[in-house]
Each structure stands twice: as structure tokens, then as C-alpha cells.
């Protein structure tokens, strides 16, 4: 694991020299989960930064907010924003660069390597602790998790607590960074899509029943969409009002806007929303698992994204978020692509 001391030192320097506007990192949470996003604006606040296996959040999503904020300011501060990224998160930065949503100069990337560890899964941790709450989670020299609770320490193997996505991780250290803390240790990966085995073994009828039951739970809080760094559209097909309406939009145009998805939480509408969300991530999702983590009703959304990731890999040999100079999967055609109807 990367060292927090390295991070703090660099962060202080960056802020003192005014090289970054502010730094998006992790601090202590107060709501029962040890880490939470933290925005550091002055060198004095740097000591509040933390880095441990509960830093699950993909902070790249906050670059979308930063861009929105900047677009509203008359004279925006053009300095880059510092951001702490894990390996998976760095792949999200690559996708945003590739899609030209941000420029490389907009961000100063403080990369942290997970090395042989990763982040912990909240439900696995809750099961392990049986009602007790984790105050602190650390990784020891043998790459085992050490969880501190009110009643002392509990040890667990990496497999016991690691998030499923970490067990299938393709980038345990950042692929793009300005500064890196921790080592570039590759972890062998035997089954990159192992979590899909169970789902793929089901018949289509069984899968339909599974997804209908899961998606019927959805209350359309849109946390999955809101947490995703790739869901950066100003206007979303599922919103009831066109956010791109301006003072010049005519009444006719407003009235004629097609409602593709109704607000009602009916099976059909929930299904359309989730399929639209998943399809828009084809060849873009970097498996940070945020959509699934934030869902208050535990809908296993990662399955949908992972399946698309597998299709992209098998059909086009494409993996999102490794090379910012490549064209995005859905916006290019190569001679070796399997669909020859386009030639």
C-alpha cells in the first residue's frame, strides 16, 4: 500500500507553491465508515488526509463537478486540481482524457498503489464484524487486513474482505499519474471475469426473473448514475425536464420532447433506465464498482457493467482506460473488427 506520509508531503508542497487549486483526497468519515471524500484547500488542512483500504470512493467523479463549477464562473481559476487516485480510478481519468472531457493539464494526479491489497467491501466487512463497527482498517506486512473495532482488533485474509472488483482488478497501481506512492506490483489474475460465471450459467428465463426482481427494488434515487465518473452528461435521457432548455427554447420544442422513460417506478421504466445506464458504459466502464456500492437497495449493478466489459474484450480486444491516445471503442472502426457490414 502507498504511504500516507508520502502523500501528505507532496500535497503540502503543491498547496504551498500554489500549483493546484485544491486537492481531492480522503479524510475521516463520521457516518460509520472510516473514510470519506475530503477537499483540502490549504497546507494546514493536509494532515487530515488519510489513505487506507476503506478509501473505496472513486474521486474522479468530482472532476465532473469541477468542470461544471468552472463553466459557471466568469473568470475561473485555471490551475489544475490535485486528485488522489487508485489504479482503478486512474483508468477513469484516462477515459475522461480520451473522450476529451478533461485536459491533462486540468489535473495533478497523486497516484496511490494498492500493491497486493485493495479496498474492503462494506457488506463483507459488516458480516465479518457481526454488528460491530470498524474504526480503522489497515494492511499488515503479510498483506492481511487488520480491523480495529471498539473491542479490539480482528484479522482477516485479503480474500475475505476485498471488494469483488479488487479480486478481478487489472490495475492495482495507477496507469497515469504525476506522482506515485507505493510500488508497481502486478497481482496475478487467473479469472478476470470470474464473477460472471454464476450469472452466465443461468438460463435466459432465470436471468430475466433475477433482474426483474432486482430492478423492481429500484427507487430511482439515481445514486448509481450520480456516483459514476462516466455519467457526465448535462442532460440525461431519464430526467423529466430537459436541462439543456434555454430561454430560446420554444414552447413547441419543450412540449415535443419525447419521454423515453417515465418517472414511475414500474418494472418497465426501471428496466429501461438501468439498461440505458449500462449500455452507455459499454467500452467505458473501468469497474470502480461505485454504482453497486452506493445503491441503498443493493442491486448488483456491477454484473451488467462487467458483462459489457467482457464483450468489449472478447469482440474487440478492447479494455477501457489504459491508453488515452486510443480512440474510444464506440467511436472508431478498425479493419479487424468483427462487424463487416460497415465496410
Amino acid at each position: 500500500m502507498a504511504k500516507i506520509e508520502d502523500l501528505k508531503e507532496e500535497a503540502k508542497k503543491l498547496l504551498r507553491e500554489g500549483k493546484v487549486k485544491y486537492i481531492i483526497g480522503y479524510g475521516a468519515g463520521t457516518n460509520g465508515w472510516p473514510a470519506a471524500p475530503l477537499f483540502v484547500k490549504t497546507p494546514e488542512e493536509v494532515d487530515r488526509l488519510v489513505w487506507d483500504p476503506t478509501c473505496v470512493h472513486n474521486l474522479v467523479r468530482f472532476l465532473v463537478d469541477e468542470k461544471r463549477r468552472k463553466s459557471r464562473q466568469k473568470q475561473p481559476d485555471k490551475r489544475p486540481v490535485g486528485i488522489v487516485v487508485k489504479g482503478c480510478d486512474s483508468r477513469a481519468v484516462v477515459v475522461l482524457l480520451q473522450e476529451k472531457f478533461i485536459d491533462r493539464g486540468d489535473v495533478f494526479i497523486l497516484g496511490v498503489s494498492c500493491e497486493k491489497a485493495g479496498v474492503v467491501d462494506d457488506s463483507k466487512l459488516a458480516r465479518k464484524l457481526g454488528g460491530k463497527k470498524a474504526k480503522k482498517v489497515a494492511v499488515n506486512a503479510e498483506n492481511r487486513f487488520v480491523v480495529t473495532t471498539e473491542d479490539g482488533e480482528v484479522e482477516a485474509s485479503a480474500e475475505e474482505l476485498l471488494a469483488e472488483r479488487c479480486l478481478e482488478c487489472k490495475a492495482n497501481f495507477p496507469v497515469v499519474y504525476d506522482l506515485l506512492s507505493g510500488a508497481k506490483t502486478k497481482r496475478p489474475l487467473d479469472k478476470p471475469f470470474g464473477s460472471l460465471d454464476k450469472m452466465e450459467a443461468l438460463s435466459s428465463e432465470e436471468r430475466w426473473a433475477f433482474w426483474k426482481a432486482q430492478l423492481d427494488k429500484c427507487i430511482r434515487c439515481y445514486a448509481c448514475r450520480s456516483a459514476c465518473p462516466m455519467c457526465y452528461c448535462d442532460e440525461c435521457v431519464v430526467d423529466s425536464i430537459n436541462l439543456a432548455v434555454t430561454a430560446d427554447t420554444t414552447a413547441d420544442e419543450k412540449a415535443q420532447r419525447i419521454r423515453w422513460v417515465q418517472r414511475s417506478t414500474e418494472s418497465s421504466e426501471n428496466m429501461v433506465y438501468h439498461l440505458v445506464r449500462a449500455m452507455h458504459l459499454a467500452g467505458r466502464c473501468i469497474d470502480c464498482g461505485e454504482c453497486e456500492r452506493v445503491c441503498p437497495l443493493d442491486i448488483p449493478l456491477r454484473f451488467l457493467n462487467k458483462k459489457l466489459e467482457k464483450e468489449a474484450k472478447e469482440l474487440f480486444g478492447y479494455e477501457a482506460g489504459f491508453d488515452a491516445d486510443l480512440p474510444a471503442l464506440v467511436s472508431c472502426f478498425r479493419d479487424e473488427d468483427p462487424q463487416d457490414f460497415i465496410r
Partner: protein
């Protein structure tokens, strides 16, 4: 009126209520607690907090107001409008937490007054709430005692059960509650004075078990009046994702949207539907001109807090927060309403 109900009679009592629709907290397939129909099955009342509060039963996420159908006969075109009122069977929700019932008591205010919401009241009038005092706090983020509630408050409830080990101490609070007891009178017993004493002691003790506190909440309303343009909202909302979790899962949030959902454009056929909405979505305040008076996360976080701790207090003299702690526990980025309000109190001090 006070009674006791031996626990061995509890499921029999539930069975005696089966002419009604009975909801109890049940564990779903994913291991989550949820208010669901009892199905005559065994009900366990020792539960953790449900993800969704019972608000979804009194104020469903989707409600049809009317149906419209266009028809044509020769040159004659007609549009038929049909009022739709919910068809409600007498309902009882058993195991409601006192804070959740207090939230219903707040919704009662909101949905009455000058405009009585017939859809809400059709359900509310037919629904009895049987509370379960929180002898153990169902969540580590409970703070009901800070917002004028308590683990055994009775507002909004028809009956309140307090767990005394082998029996429940039953406070009968309304005529609706009396009917529920009368459904199986013989199962209930008159409480001995020492049992009443024990129940009062258990209730008093439950207050002490609430770990989190928002001290001195009343003056916050006054303080907030001067903080509309504070930079605090920018700082505190930086990590907000603009999702709807804090409001959709809040037992007292009640904002809604009304849409015409067209099933067929020609001939026109569809429904006018009310659905939950939230001040946390950017399109909530979007004007048809394209202007949005709450254009950023800061103004939306401010709205959530001001509604709960300033506007509602001014209008109804009550907090619009019952201290269940769901918005704290379920926020994906750890925004903590107690911490934010603590900062409000410190602001400019």
C-alpha cells in the same frame, strides 16, 4: 388505557387482525429489513432499521390521480377523464419505530390544512400504526432525543408496545388502537402496578442509549435565517453526489412531481401520476425558461437543511427531522446532517 400482551400471544393477536392488511418488518432475500405484508407468517419485532421507512405505505412512490381516454365516433371526439382514488383496505403497520410514526404525524400536517390531500388521507384514515419502543437503538446514528422525539414517543401512533422480556407493555393511544386490542381482547391482560413501573423504567433507560446528539436544536432555525448566502453550503456540499438517497429514504421528506404518462398518443390514453421527487435533483427547481434558482449542489444541500430546521419550524413549530439517522447511515459519501448542523451553530460564533 394500558394493557400487557404476553409474547406467547403476539402471533395469535396478529392473526386476529387478518381482516386487515398487516405490514411487519421482514427480512428480504438479500437480508435487508423491509416493511412487507405479514402473510400470516411469524413476525419478529427485534429488528434493525429498515432501509425504506413505512412512508412508502402511506405515501407510495407512485400514485395514479386520474385516467384519460380519447375516443372518436364519426366526427365526434371525446376525452373522458376518470378520477382514481386508492382502494384501501383497513391496514395496520406493526413494529413501526416511534420516530417513523412521528414522521407520519408531520406528514399529517403537510397533507391537511387549506388543501386536504385526499389520496394521502384515504390511506392514512384506514391505517393504524402499532409502534415498538426502541429499547435498543435500531441504528448507531439515531438522534431522536435531539429533535424533540424519544425512543418511546407516541405522536402518530395508535398503540405503543414496549418489550419487557416475556411480555409487551401496551399503551392504547387512540380509538383505532382500542379496536386493535378489541379484536382479541382475551389475549391482553391488565397491567399490575409493578409492570407499569418496570415499563416506565425501561423507557427512561432507552433514552440514555441514544448515542448521537445534536445539542440545542431549537435555536438553529433562528441561526439559519442569516445563513442563506453562507459559504458553509459550498464547503459542506463539495462531496455531495446529487443523488436522492437522503430524501427518498427520509421518513418525513414528502416532495412530489405530477406527470401525465401517455400510454398511447392516438387515440390518447394514459394516466396522471404522482411520484416522489426530491430537492436534491437539479431538475427539481428547473423553470420552463431554462432558469434554475437552485443551480448547484450547495443550494440544494441548503434547501434540505433549511426546510427541515427553519421553514418547517416557522410554519408548524416542529422540526421536519425525526432523527432516524438514515440520511447519515446511507449517504454514499458520508455527509452527516449532525456535523453540518454543528457547523451551522458554530458559524459566526
Amino acid at each position: 388505557m394500558e394493557k400487557t400482551l404476553p409474547k406467547k400471544h403476539f402471533s395469535q393477536w396478529l392473526k386476529s387482525l387478518t381482516s386487515r392488511r398487516v405490514y411487519v418488518p421482514r427480512k428480504d432475500e438479500d437480508g435487508r429489513w423491509n416493511y412487507a405484508e405479514a402473510d400470516g407468517g411469524e413476525a419478529a419485532l427485534e429488528v434493525l432499521q429498515t432501509t425504506l421507512p413505512p412512508k412508502k405505505i402511506l405515501f407510495p412512490q407512485r400514485e395514479v390521480f386520474l385516467e384519460f381516454t380519447q375516443s372518436r365516433e364519426g366526427q365526434q371526439e371525446t376525452l373522458e377523464l376518470k378520477d382514481v382514488l386508492p382502494e384501501v383496505r383497513p391496514t395496520v403497520i406493526v413494529g413501526v419505530r416511534p420516530c417513523e410514526a412521528r414522521a407520519a404525524w408531520l406528514l399529517d400536517e403537510v397533507f391537511s390544512g387549506e388543501f386536504k390531500d385526499v389520496y394521502y388521507w384515504k390511506r392514512r384514515d384506514e391505517t393504524a400504526l402499532v409502534g415498538l419502543a426502541c429499547t435498543t437503538p435500531p441504528s448507531e446514528h439515531c438522534f431522536c432525543t435531539s429533535v424533540e422525539g424519544s425512543p418511546h414517543s407516541v405522536e402518530g401512533l395508535d398503540l405503543l408496545l414496549t418489550d419487557l422480556g416475556d411480555r409487551y407493555y401496551v399503551q392504547v393511544l387512540t380509538p383505532k388502537g382500542e379496536k386493535l386490542v378489541a379484536a382479541a381482547k382475551t389475549l391482553f391482560e391488565e397491567p399490575k402496578p409493578e409492570v407499569v413501573k418496570q415499563a416506565k423504567a425501561v423507557q427512561a433507560d432507552s433514552n440514555k442509549k441514544i448515542k448521537r446528539q445534536l445539542k440545542d436544536a431549537r435555536p438553529i432555525a433562528e441561526k439559519l435565517k442569516g445563513m442563506f448566502d453562507s459559504t458553509l453550503w459550498d464547503e459542506e456540499s463539495m462531496s455531495c453526489l446529487r443523488c436522492g438517497i437522503c430524501t427518498y429514504l427520509c421518513p418525513s421528506c414528502h416532495c412530489f412531481d405530477i406527470n401525465d404518462e401517455v400510454e398511447s398518443p392516438a387515440p390518447l390514453r394514459g394516466q396522471r401520476v404522482r411520484t416522489w421527487d426530491t430537492c436534491q435533483f437539479p431538475d427539481f427547481t428547473m423553470h420552463s425558461s431554462g432558469h434554475n434558482p437552485r443551480p448547484d449542489k450547495a443550494s440544494r444541500l441548503r434547501q434540505r437543511l433549511l426546510h427541515k430546521f427553519q421553514y418547517f419550524v416557522q410554519v408548524y413549530d416542529r422540526f421536519m427531522c425525526v432523527g432516524c439517522g438514515r440520511c447519515i447511515a446511507l449517504c454514499p459519501v458520508g455527509i452527516d446532517i449532525i456535523k453540518v448542523l454543528d457547523k451551522v451553530k458554530e458559524n459566526g460564533a
